[in-house]
Point group: C2
């Protein structure tokens, strides 16, 4: 495990990007909160004395795994679809996803009486395909390039494309988690968030830092899917030829224009974790907190356990447990 | 699966036992609430739309598995030890348990600066033995009769015996869950609770029925450990020669004088479930609610899924998830 981009914090000291067009303004998060309120759960925060002792912190978990459809994704999707014109709603929406975004899009679209089509990799878990269908989404499985297939379907059927993460309305929706974190743990010093495409951390980091700039936000990427770290190094979004991690929720093969900009401005550091470290963290969360964090979620505790995050002893830390969608077979094989 | 004691409800219609000396008066629960407040978690209630649809109910779960030490047990123990004289506190306490009560007693005693000794079966799970020790309890392992060994230790060391369930202060402490249930789900029609020795259901059923007599309380026992059902049939507490169930939290080989009296007066029915049904319910809770219910806790959903509980379609039902103490190996083998 290693620490990436230790210079991020330095850059953040001179934040000047408030007029950067790729940065979502904080009031958008407040607006999103009004949109989604009552339609999704306001998820609880719990404290773990045992894991706090183990990591020399006052440790909290945001249990976003209790969210509707089992992950944070409906927050952004609800905000996005809410702002579609009635004409666009009639056309229906299309997107790509291997799991959590697929379920969230299908669920939200059905709530709003919008038809949804989701292009998923042929190798997706049957449980996620079935869940997406059960929420009312049409699933198209492909072995070809996901995005290209999606764009072809979109053109052919004249659908509205919903990007899974690189969209201001999606980012604003995920940012509502940042508001809730500060309501529940106002003295939080460090917030740790997993990074796939970066939509979740973009929203959370922006919402947190605009309220409490001295707070630290740490991102986590798996060794085998570090698109954001690599994008930071290159100064532009990179596409990975392949990804390889058990954390399917963090396996996006590319970062976005918006999400890279948010990470550049608002995120202090990114920690890289191995699949083995993620599994160990998952087991600890299962045994000590009695909740099933999917690997993407458990990566946050893995980062904390790695001791690669510099912080004061006894700091107040919150790990975002972003989702709990792991099927029994996978769980059994990981235990 | 079969329904036991359908006549219970009839008997309850003529409740006259309010002056029965074996029944804990409801004000004792209110007093216990004051004692334990701030020392244990006030655990949350969640709703499951999916499992509600599956069972044609409006379905809630009381997540007592988030309680300190991983089960409801500290509520009763805190109330019991709080009322010990300073002389008795100095002597130290002793009890028997294969798991959850052991951990709770060790944890509470250490909080109150009381020494604790717990006699556990030699075959107890290593994880539970270690947890009990980590909370500060002295563990004595025995292959002989648990209660007899405990009484010998008590005499030899002049300790104060704490019964794991058949004690008015313990029952009053567990009853605080009943208060919280009605605060969170005031329109609840049916509450389902697992029965081991009966301390949990005694407190909950009494607290609920004294506030809302029309509510139904259903108990659940595993096929291989149905001491309470058999005690009801015999009209007095029976001791089983052997118990055989994966639900170690419900594996008490006998009912108590107090707990039998409470079940006779306040419990409407007892449903018997198989280990297979318990495991299926555990998996559903894990996959849909993202929490690890130990078998004893999952038995409540198993009873609901069995359709052996008579209720109006669409009734508001709450299953008490009493604990989450299951080690990874056991979980893996059950998945």
């Amino acid at each position: 495990m290693k620490l990436i981009s230790p210079g991020l914090r330095e850059r953040n000291k001179n934040r000047v990007n408030i007029h950067n067009k790729k940065i979502v303004p904080y009031p958008e998060v407040l607006a999103a909160q009004k949109v989604i309120s009552g339609k999704v759960h306001r998820t609880p925060v719990v404290r773990s004395d045992y894991l706090g002792k183990l990591t020399h912190t006052k440790l909290y978990f945001k249990l976003e795994l209790f969210q509707k459809t089992g992950s944070f994704k409906p927050r952004g999707v609800l905000n996005k679809l809410h702002h579609l014109s009635s004409e666009d709603r009639k056309k229906g929406v299309v997107s790509i996803s291997a799991g959590n975004h697929a379920q969230a899009l299908a669920w939200v679209a059905t709530q709003l009486d919008i038809s949804s089509t989701i292009v998923m990799p042929a190798g997706s878990l049957l449980s996620k395909i079935e869940a997406t269908r059960s929420y009312g989404g049409e699933v198209i499985l492909t072995e070809d390039n996901l995005l290209e297939t999606c764009l072809a379907v979109q053109k052919e059927r004249d659908l509205i494309l919903i990007h899974p993460f690189d969209d201001p309305k999606i980012i604003a929706g995920q940012g509502t988690i940042g508001i809730e974190i500060l309501e529940d743990v106002p003295d939080v010093d460090v917030v740790i968030v997993g990074i796939g495409g970066g939509g979740l951390i973009s929203g959370i980091a922006m919402a947190l830092k605009e309220q409490k700039p001295e707070l630290k936000v740490i991102g986590v990427e798996p060794e085998g899917a570090s698109a954001m770290s690599q994008s930071l190094q290159h100064g532009e979004p990179v596409h990975l030829d392949r990804v390889d991690t058990i954390a399917d929720g963090l396996a996006a093969p590319f970062a976005g224009q918006y999400t890279l900009a948010h990470v550049q401005v608002y995120v202090d550091d990114i920690v890289i974790v191995s699949d083995l470290e993620i599994v160990e963290a998952m087991k600890l969360i299962l045994e000590r907190c009695k909740v099933t964090a999917e690997p993407a979620a458990a990566s946050t505790l893995a980062a904390l356990l790695s001791s690669n995050i510099s912080m004061t002893q006894g700091a107040t830390v919150l790990c975002v447990l972003s989702g709990g969608n792991i099927d029994q077979k996978s769980l059994k094989s990981l235990l």
